[in-house]
């Protein structure tokens, strides 16, 4: 699902299918403004809201990092 959101909103220079979970998305062409679109896309898809502490470049640096942040926010939602 994360890959779908990146494909739609990430504006990458390469096909997301060619990237591994740990690959650097910024190196693959993810810009600052595209990161904002990506964040909004993830929030809509997973019905979550990224708090200020996660509004950082490294939160979105790889599929792995995004997955960790999304999992954390979904866990918090269940706990709340």
């Amino acid at each position: 699902m994360i890959r779908d959101v990146i494909r739609e909103g990430g504006g990458l220079a390469v096909d997301i299918a060619t990237l591994g979970d740990g690959d650097d998305l910024y190196a693959a062409g993810l810009t600052s403004h595209a990161t904002v679109n990506l964040m909004l896309g993830l929030e809509e898809k997973f019905d979550i809201e990224f708090p200020d502490r996660l509004l950082r470049r490294r939160t979105f640096e790889s599929i792995e990092a995004i997955s960790a942040a999304v999992t954390e926010l979904l866990d918090e939602k269940v706990a709340a």
Binding site: V36, L55, R56, R57
Partner: protein, 309 residues
């Protein structure tokens, strides 16, 4: 008194002192002032000082009115980042009946602005904005890239009682357009030069990583990105607060943001990167008056020498 209240009081006190000494002329809107001959003289002399440091680099001088083409503004991406600061120029474009309605509303002191329509003119948000489409239209950059000297009034809608946060203010900039290496070398050169220029003017200062005032939640992320990548440095001088010093110079690396937006290419076809050094000339004058006093003749001789006063 809370910190905020103390800061506002210090800002109001400095503004009132500047007005009392005739340096700034109030115009009834926060952040909009006339300037006295002396205030302008200090700025002119500072500009000459900047030119003594940067004037031999061969920059192309471009001067524009304080407004840009709306289509260029829309293409610049400014509204994605700073919608809250933009100033668009609107005019009456109606017929006789619309004119009568306007006058009626004016007489009744009702809102007469609803019928105003957007013109093709937008206030310049930063001095370098008009140059990018000009460079793009010339085709690929030469191997050495480009260097432009710009100076313009700029508008940002952020009314404040702080005299160091004007809505209409001037920026003197050098802008470098070229490869990442060319523009990063340029930025470092100006961090060093800017620090030397201001140190010689006898004001307390430090240079720090900074971020632009991006709008909203998306903006918090853009600001964090900008800081993480150290894209912006500011030279800060305490004016109305030592805790919150004022950015008087900024040293910005835009990466390929403008190169992409305008399709500007280096000689080998790569997307051009850009960087700029900006001097907030009113803020610099205010810093000089703050630290050396309102009587220019009493300023330290070393400072007067630098400015040729």
């Amino acid at each position: 008194m809370s910190d905020d209240a103390a800061l506002r009081a210090a800002q109001a006190a400095f503004r009132d002192a500047l007005i009392a000494h005739g340096l700034l002329i109030p115009m009834g809107v926060d952040g909009m002032y006339g300037r006295s001959g002396l205030f302008e003289d200090v700025i002119e002399r500072f500009l000459a000082l900047v030119a003594r440091h940067g004037g031999q680099d061969g920059a192309e001088v471009m001067r524009f009115p304080p407004a840009i083409n709306r289509a260029d503004f829309e293409g610049s991406g400014y509204l994605k980042s700073f919608p809250q600061l933009a100033g668009t120029v609107h005019s009456f474009m109606g017929n006789d009946r619309d004119h009568q309605a306007l006058i009626e509303k004016l007489l009744k002191k009702e809102d007469w602005t609803a019928g105003q329509k957007a013109t093709q003119v937008v206030m310049t948000p930063a001095a370098c904005y008009p140059i990018y489409p000009v460079l793009a239209a010339r085709g690929r950059l030469p191997a050495g890239g480009a260097l432009v000297d710009v100076y313009s009034y700029c508008f940002r809608h952020e009314p404040s009682i702080d005299p160091a946060r004007m809505q209409l203010f001037r920026q003197r900039e050098y802008v470098r357009i070229g490869t990442p290496e060319q523009v990063m070398d340029f930025r470092q050169l100006w961090i060093d030069r800017g620090t030397a220029i201001m140190t010689a003017l006898g004001v307390p200062l430090h240079v720090d990583v900074a971020n632009d005032p991006f709008f909203g939640r998306a903006g918090r992320m853009l600001a964090a990105n900008q800081r993480d990548q150290t894209l912006k440095f500011e030279l800060l001088i305490p004016i109305t607060s030592t805790d919150k010093p004022t950015a008087c110079l900024s040293f910005n690396y835009h990466q390929d943001h403008f190169g992409h937006a305008w399709d500007i290419h280096t000689h080998d076809g790569g997307t051009a990167h850009t960087a700029c050094v900006g001097f907030g000339v009113e803020r610099i004058a205010l810093a000089l008056f703050k630290h050396h006093g309102f009587d220019v003749k009493a300023w330290p001789m070393a400072v007067r020498d630098q400015l040729g006063l």
